[in-house]
């Protein structure tokens, strides 16, 4: 890696770097070795501990896990689908020209954003006496709609003033200009943030565990309770791995969208190495004052 921070390393520096790498790897391996031996002493690696995943019980175990994944994804999907339009609505109210619409919306948004999601879930669950699924979905929806609204507002504010002025000048009403000129561009600019928020939403479905929604983690616990404490670690290990894999996949998609989006930004200036240390000037693609014609869509 070349960097403007330091000179290209000479033979001495390269040797130090090599020694440093070796020492770093040794330390990390050492910690891993301690962890693995501790686990081995507990008999974690005995085959019978993992038998639940391929032995006679395997179909039941996997079907439980499958149900868990499905309910996790279902809650996330329903919440995302409702939260997005709701976020657009809240954003419209938030940037309204009329003070008595704008200010109360601002208060509501601050309230929703300052609240732990799990508290909202518990609130819905206990106060409205709904089922767990509804509680999880409503909690996630309210919170994420507020975040979507703020992201979209930031997107609209980052647009050049001329966009709205031009819209108004050709005789569009304020609302028409918002919907047909500003929102499409704001959504486009903020797509990376919006998708990143979707990953957060997906992660937050695991809070359903706390309010008793039978998502993946709860299923894992039910399974471990049923099979006995010996199987807690294997069950947890597999469950956590599945969760992380799903999230990593969605994150990857988010990064792909981000790359695509930044390549399409005006002038085609893509900051491809934003993620690789201090190599680029790293201008935020969002902050750049670009004007995009609607024909580029």
């Amino acid at each position: 890696m070349t960097s403007v921070l330091y000179d290209v390393p000479g033979p001495k520096a390269r040797l130090y770097s090599l020694l440093g790498s070796a020492a770093g790897i040794l330390i990390i391996l050492g910690v891993l070795a301690i962890a693995v031996t501790t686990l081995a002493q507990q008999g974690i690696f005995d085959a019978d501990r993992w038998e639940i995943f391929y032995g006679p019980l395997a179909p039941d175990v996997w079907s439980l896990i499958g149900q868990g994944i499905l309910s996790t994804l279902a809650a996330a999907a329903v919440a995302a689908v409702i939260a997005f339009p709701l976020g657009i609505g809240l954003c419209l109210l938030r940037i309204s020209l009329i003070a008595w619409i704008r200010i109360p919306t601002q208060v509501v948004l601050e309230f929703l954003r300052g609240m732990p999601v799990v508290l909202m879930m518990l609130f819905v669950l206990l106060v409205f006496a709904t089922g767990q699924f509804q509680a999880v979905v409503v909690g996630l929806t309210l919170y994420n709609a507020a975040i979507f609204a703020e992201i979209l507002r930031a997107g609209i504010q980052s647009l050049p003033k001329g966009q709205r002025e031009a819209g108004l000048a050709i005789g569009l009403r304020s609302f028409q200009s918002r919907m047909s000129i500003e929102f499409p561009q704001a959504v486009r600019r903020m797509l990376p943030s919006l998708v990143a928020q979707l990953v957060v939403l997906l992660k937050d479905t695991s809070l359903g565990y706390i309010v008793g929604y039978e998502e993946l983690l709860r299923k894992i616990q039910i399974m471990a309770d049923f099979l006995g404490p010996d199987f807690l670690f294997p069950a947890f290990f597999v469950g956590a791995a599945i969760y992380i894999l799903i999230n990593l996949t969605v994150s990857r998609i988010a990064i792909l969208i981000e790359r695509r989006g930044s390549k399409k930004a005006a002038g085609g200036v893509a900051p491809p190495s934003l993620r690789t240390g201090l190599v680029v000037g790293g201008n935020d693609p969002v902050a750049k004052d670009s004007v995009e014609g609607p024909d580029k869509k």
């Binding site: 960097s3 921070l5 508290l119 106060v127 992660k203 969760y243 990593l248 790293g282």
Partner: protein, 216 residues
Amino acid sequence: MDAVIASLPEYWDGFLRTLYLSVISGIIALLVGTLLAAMRVSPVAALRGFSMFYVEVARNTPLTIIFFFAAIVLPRLGVKFEQFEVAAIIALSSYTAAFIAEAVRSGVNSVPVGQAEAARSIGMTFTQVLGFIVLPQAVRTVIPPLINILIALVKNSSVAGAFFVLELFGYGRQLSNDYGDQVLWILLGVAFFYLLITVPLGLLAHFVERKVAIAR
């Protein structure tokens, strides 16, 4: 309403414990996160790789899973904690550190290359470039997102309430059991105490953002 007034001592205790969890985990996360960010830009490949792996995995793991691991799985593997607070602090700080590392790194990235190049060309060393030129400029861009991460940390500490720590959310669950007929007020009370921390922090972030904003 009277249930809220009757349980003010519990609220206060929970409020203090939420603050305690957030402050301790926040400090640890800031230290570890900055260290991870430094590893990420360091010339040593192994450190870079480790930092990248850690950040990527921690950011994509739900906090509940980390808590579950620290509070339920670890004790069964023989790692026992005196208090569940310790498990909560480990979970919160290891999760938050990844986000702090990302914020610090993107702050360093936001400083135009020309700045570092200019500093290099007048003969400054690595430490001088970082200490006098890059970091002072990076800090300005980093502070607002850092405050936002800390706000998220305060909110995330509520997950500890589900794992045997009696902080605000934990008391909220307990009290709404005790006063089944006044759940609405009990939970609004909990919400109020959370807002007491998060709203001032949010205002601070806004203020700092305007104060240190630099036009580039």
